[in-house]
């Protein structure tokens, strides 16, 4: 019953007719491609939405030292805020799990998405795309996920294989 209701609800707005539209207020204004580009900052796990630009771990180290280190510590060691580096192999057994970008995050694209939208904390959305690529490269390299010589860009970031990529199973609804 639960599932059937969902199917009906989904099909209700997927199969639109002109008549159905006529009955709604229809007060939205069409969005232009430029407006959408300005606001659409989310990056899909396959890299959809990654902007042009690139950065290296060495460039990222400079960005990190200037913008990230006070909250995330030397080389991403954490304190006072989240630890970004280390923790590999801590997810099993009786030990305390240390969940970092390297040990836990399943997608490198999430790192770009989050850093660009929300970091640095006191000035989010202030980094250039090159700076975001660079700081992502630095954090990934500190975690041993990419080589020091690697360059992160829209072409390479989405191809990075994160150590815990296969560490997730979807919770299935009981009903």
């Amino acid at each position: 019953m639960y599932m059937r209701k969902l199917v009906i609800a989904a099909s209700a707005f997927l199969s639109l007719s002109a008549a159905a539209l006529a009955e709604t207020p229809d007060l939205g204004r069409p969005a232009t491609p430029e407006e959408i580009t300005l606001w659409d900052i989310s990056i899909g796990p396959e890299g959809a939405g990654l902007p042009p630009g690139s950065g290296t771990p060495q460039q990222g180290e400079l960005v990190y030292a200037a913008k990230c280190l006070p909250c995330h510590g030397e080389k991403g060691a954490g304190k006072p805020n989240d630890q970004l580096v280390g923790g590999l192999g801590t997810l099993t057994g009786d030990q305390n799990p240390v969940k970092t970008v390297g040990s836990f995050w399943p997608y490198a694209t999430t790192l770009f998405d989050y850093v660009r939208r929300a970091m640095p904390f006191d000035a989010p959305k202030s980094l250039s795309n090159d700076e975001v690529y660079a700081v992502c490269a630095y954090i990934l390299q500190l975690n041993g996920v990419i080589e020091p010589s690697a360059v992160m860009s829209s072409q390479t970031l989405a191809r990075v294989q994160m150590p815990n990529h296969d560490g997730f199973v979807p919770f299935s609804l009981r009903q």
């Binding site: 207020p25 939205g28 204004r29 959408i36 899909g44 969940k99 997608y107 929300a118 989010p124 997730f168």
Partner: protein
Amino acid sequence: MGRKRAVAGAQDLTAGNGLLDRRALLVGASLGGAAAMAPRPGFGAEELSVERWMREPGAPFVGYGQPSRFEAKVARTFASAPGTTGTGASRTPLQRLNGTITPNGLHFERHHSGIPDIDPDTHRLLIHGLVKRPLIFTLEALARYPMETRIAFIECGGNTGALYQKEPAQIDLQASHGLLSCAEWTGVRLALLLEEAGVAPESQWLLAEGADAAGMSRSVPMKAVDEALVALYQNGERVRPSNGYPLRLLLPGYEGNMNVKWLSRIKATAGPTMTKDETSKYTILLPSGKSLQFVFPIETKSVITHPSPGLTVKAAGLYEISGLAWSGYGKIARVEVSADGGKSWALAALQDPVLPKALTRFRIPWRWDGGPAVLQSRATDSSGYVQPTRAALIAERGAKTFYHFNGITSWAIGDHGEVRHVYA
């Protein structure tokens, strides 16, 4: 009659250690929360006086009313992340409230970069992605849409995370359970706005994003749209800034983090975006090392609010045990209460109206004999889901997470009436 029932005889007992029939207190006698019901000789007219406020005019009108100054301790408690203010969580004082609706100023909060000061005239909702017509809505436009009202709880997926700890945390109910609130929300059905944009059949997910500095974003499965509201009103007034002014997504029954505040963008996508919160945060690390992801529903849960740690049961006698039950799957079907640590159970009375995905208040009379007692509540919802014991929950999921704890909670009553959190 009421007094006879209040001094309950053995025939009224429905479970061990003093639990009475749920209707026992409903007959005749006036009820005052956890007030003792036995006659109290010696309380005479000599205690009455003609008070100052009976002899002089009261205060003038004010534009927006506030609680009595004597209620100042009924307040949220909060903590911020290091080096920040307004980034963290505040908690609802459930032990100081009754009924089921949370006053707007006491609704719990979880902010990732403070509370934005949004001008409603410039706020916009963009709907785009896999749609025929990407659309931008102003508040003025949305205010003209047909609206719906529903009462729904919101609970943070991290609420009661402390109950996974090895030893029972000695904290009050606000600290243990306070990331839970319930309000009457009014807004526009999200499905209606998506209809106008024309979502493509291959779109199975939505990305919802807020206009706060953190750009809080979560992927929402398309099936959630069935009950989703773009909420403009909270308990009759515009949604509070701390709860998403001027727009928030309301997904009844889904974990709080998905009910995106300051909603400014909805993108129809084929799959989940894999945002920071749905990968690195709101997942449940299992003993196997794998993590459960997309744990959307708040599963059936209950807790006794009166009494609870921090409150004291004053003297042996008759009390009303009262608490809250809720389920992200539907309505609460029944709540059972135990006073002997789960050995025996009695059915509690449910306060009408019992609404799906809303807090439900339960009550049951209890005659405390002054001896040891362990109080528990166990909720069952309309889908048949029974709230698990803490041991059963941890046996299944381990204790390496602090998300989605919904196990039975135990309060021990000590010799002096003090209430402590225990594992039983």
